[in-house]
């Protein structure tokens, strides 16, 4: 008996891949697979305007790949591990380099706020 992997419809997969076919969003997802992050951390890391970051996160949220949770002033994003494409996304992320170092770098510079909850 060969092992069967649960599949998602081509339409669904294409929509997810289209979103992840952007360097910024793909890196975001790779970071979120390590730990939850707040908007200001992405702004700091990507050297990109805050509205631009918010708009990328909005797209990821709209198709359900990420979820948000407010903690005081900050809004944290995390991967939605219950999304129907989670195993697809997860296996895909295993093929790009870990982004853990970027989070550690942020922490060293005192720019991580995740410690403040």
């Amino acid at each position: 008996m060969s092992k069967t992997i649960s599949t998602v419809e081509v339409d669904t997969a294409a929509k997810v891949l289209k979103l992840l076919g952007d360097k910024t969003r793909l890196t975001m997802m790779a970071m979120l697979s390590e730990d939850e992050c707040c908007v200001c951390e992405f702004v700091e890391l990507f050297q990109m305007s805050q509205p631009s970051i918010s708009q990328h996160l909005r797209k990821l949220k709209d198709i359900g790949l990420v979820e948000e949770k407010r903690k005081g002033q900050w809004i944290f994003y995390r991967m939605n591990k219950n999304h129907e494409t989670f195993t697809l996304v997860d296996s895909l992320l295993q093929h790009i380099p870990s982004q853990k170092a970027r989070l550690i770098e942020l922490e060293k510079r005192g720019l991580r706020v995740s410690c403040c909850d």
Copy 2:
């Protein structure tokens, strides 16, 4: 020791995912992972104009995901299994339904030309 998967740069992965973030091209790649196909087969299956099909194939060819080979009047496309993102693409395709049935359907209708080489 944990198993290490060879990774590709985020830029490279994003470019590939962007291309596969299109239903037509994603389905094409899924079909090509089963067997090589010629342009007219895609035209028949996708109910789409021939130039449109050719342009999708051109994009896949331009980044090296597929290769072409002329056989008489026909031009066949096949997956490039040596592409640096092959394992990424291959594992990704395992998460969408097999397209083998579509090829068999074509064959039943006498529309496969792969038998004529």
